[in-house]
Symmetry: C2
């Protein structure tokens, strides 16, 4: 087990212990937000036939500037027997297959109807407003690669190919365990010395936001027996996130009990603020995170370490990248560790990100930072930044918020 | 009804017709991603008692540098009768209420145990590692304002206040109608002239991604009767999104049939590419969008007009802002309308957004652009941009992708 690792090394170690993702078949219409686990090739030419791209008339290009007979019509979804010949056009709707002989489609607004004839404009470019078979993609073309997030657009592509199922990466089951005798469930009234367990619901929400569907939430007391039972109850969860019980006090059973489940410790402590006591263990096919119980530490550790592990687990890129913005007010800070500070980033009128610090009240304050959407990063040392100075940040979630 | 409006005017008109959002109570643990419809005040001081922030010893500051008797212990969640007096400390766990007489908490790692005594470090600052009652927020403090998105962090705040329900803005029901005789459902095999309906599933996915829970999907043929029946079937949907049937051909019944439902036309046609034939109508408490049937037009019109309307409907900021990035390769384009081009944006190593165009094949190509996550915007005219030139863009969805 490594001790007191850097934030970079900690993330690297976490990601090294993520197993190769599993995959399953998923109905396409339920695949929004899932991650593709196969390469998708175009099964046929698209479009499958020469297709009109405007409502108008299918014509011969050489008939430009003349009046031609409207010899039939072709509408979307219906086959037509009409044929385009010199002096004869076919009325056509957007999406309809072009009749034999079509050289171009002239939009209806560029024509003048004259009884059973229509006057065509001058200069008709051959191929205009016609999409030829295979023009967009030919059979066998590589359209979507594995690890692509299935957005609405990608889902549309899959449906248009007639796919009813698609191979996607599995999502791990996540168990969230809040530890501590002092915790009471949200609805109960805390007695003196007790506090409501807000970390559990917050961590479960973070896991859902990261795309996990199966999140179980439990509470363990600060006893060996309770922790043991709780860990046993999430035995089938591939990712377990505990909050509390990883710092130095005598009730800090978590690292010991986690190892008793058969998981190997990966590291303990990170040279970061908040979240210094972070403990990570890896079992066969599992990852167990012991997050500090402080709400802000636990939130930060999830965002920085658990969320990237979940993303990689589901076949996605672990990192969401490092961003830059400019401070909307002066900011001073000092730490001997790498400091991560919740702030609010919004795009400014000139397109650069405007980053605003909060008037926060210490390391347990989730109230005055409740609208934060990024963690700004400061290297160890003292920083005195002015309005407009650049800061580096990472989003708290992929949805940026 | 206005005609051929600018993209700015079109968005303004759409947003003007969004009714004031309704609100309902929602269980807090289901409120992730919903939008707060109330102002949340701190119901009590937080913390509610003086609280140890480290595992260690509650001490008198004046005992610094001496060895003191460990006179008891205070653990989180348990009341203690022990008292801190000169020469006597109390062992304390993170989160525990500080015993009477506590002036500071000394972390265990800064002390040396000597039997039933403990040696304290020199220089103990009064108040160190103690969070005093109300330090983070006092009763009545304004914590969350209406229209705040309920992130995991905000959810944690609500739970810590003991809230089991919270007032959130309602989400509209959305009906998606794909129109066209040529459409077949995804699983069926299209005959000549037919195509699979990929717009319906894509639009439904876009609505879900925008946060809508109740999305109904229907298909209408190009007949008055079919369209009439289909519109009747989504009578209870506050937002109706039709795709196809808004351009100039004789089968373009949509604007007429939408008006027959009692909705007033707001505008028809926008000086944009794609999506010129966009038609919008507003009924009492409803918005009806007639999107062009071309897949790319329909996607773009949803992203630019329907999604902001849904966001405002749900009490959120309609706009996700305008962003800037730099092209990763040269790009040329020309249009007499405002041009919106699907591209891919990713943060570069220096934190600026890198924007990549696709090798796309025309206005119906969703295949070669399937990984797009932004719409780059170009004003009317001709543009010849080089690698590194700046482009303005908007994300395709809030999750950026």
């Amino acid at each position: 087990m490594e001790k007191s690792v850097s934030p970079e090394r900690a993330l690297e170690l976490v990601l090294q212990h993520v197993p190769a993702p599993g995959r399953s078949a998923c109905p396409v219409e339920q695949a929004l937000g899932r991650v593709l686990a196969e390469q998708v090739l175009a099964p046929v030419d698209y479009p499958a036939f020469d297709r009109a791209m405007m409502d108008g008339f299918a014509v011969r290009a050489t008939d430009a500037g003349t009046s031609v007979i409207v010899a039939g019509e072709a509408s979307a979804g219906h086959a037509t027997r009409s044929v385009v010949e010199p002096g004869r056009c076919v009325e056509i709707m957007t999406g309809a297959p072009c009749p034999a002989g079509t050289e171009a489609v002239v939009p209806v607004e560029n024509t003048t109807r004259e009884g059973d004839r229509v006057r065509l404009p001058d200069g008709i470019r051959p191929g205009r407003h016609v999409q030829t078979r295979g023009q967009i993609c030919t059979q066998g073309a590589r359209i979507l690669e594995p690890s692509t997030l299935i957005t609405p657009l990608a889902l549309g592509v899959l449906v248009s190919f007639g796919r009813s199922e698609v191979s996607v990466y599995d999502r791990p089951r996540v168990g969230v365990i809040s530890t501590g005798d002092e915790l009471v469930e949200g609805a109960a009234d805390p007695r003196l010395g007790q506090i409501r367990d807000s970390n559990g619901p917050m961590l479960a929400a973070l896991a859902r936001e990261a795309g996990v569907a199966d999140v179980r939430r439990l509470h363990a007391l600060d006893t060996q027996q309770s922790l043991d039972q709780t860990l046993a109850a999430v035995r089938d969860c591939e990712v377990v996130v505990l909050t509390g019980g990883v710092s130095m006090g005598r009730y800090d059973l978590v690292p010991r009990m986690v190892q008793a489940t058969g998981a190997e410790p990966v590291f303990h402590k990170v040279t970061q603020q908040p979240g210094k006591p972070l403990f990570v263990a890896a079992g066969p096919g599992r990852l167990i995170f012991g997050l500090p119980g402080n709400s802000r530490s636990t939130h930060f550790c999830f965002v920085r370490y658990v969320a990237p592990a979940l993303r990689r687990w589901m076949g996605r890129q672990a990192s969401v990248g490092s961003w830059r913005g400019r401070l909307t007010e002066p900011y001073r800070c000092k730490s001997d560790r790498t400091l991560f500070v919740p702030m609010r980033a919004d795009p400014g009128p000139d397109g650069t990100m405007q980053v605003s610090p909060f008037d926060e009240r210490g390391s347990a304050d989730i109230y005055n930072i409740a609208r934060a959407n990024v963690y700004a990063r400061f290297e160890p040392g003292e920083h005195a930044l002015e309005t407009g100075d650049e800061v580096t940040f990472a989003w708290m979630n992929e949805g940026h918020g």
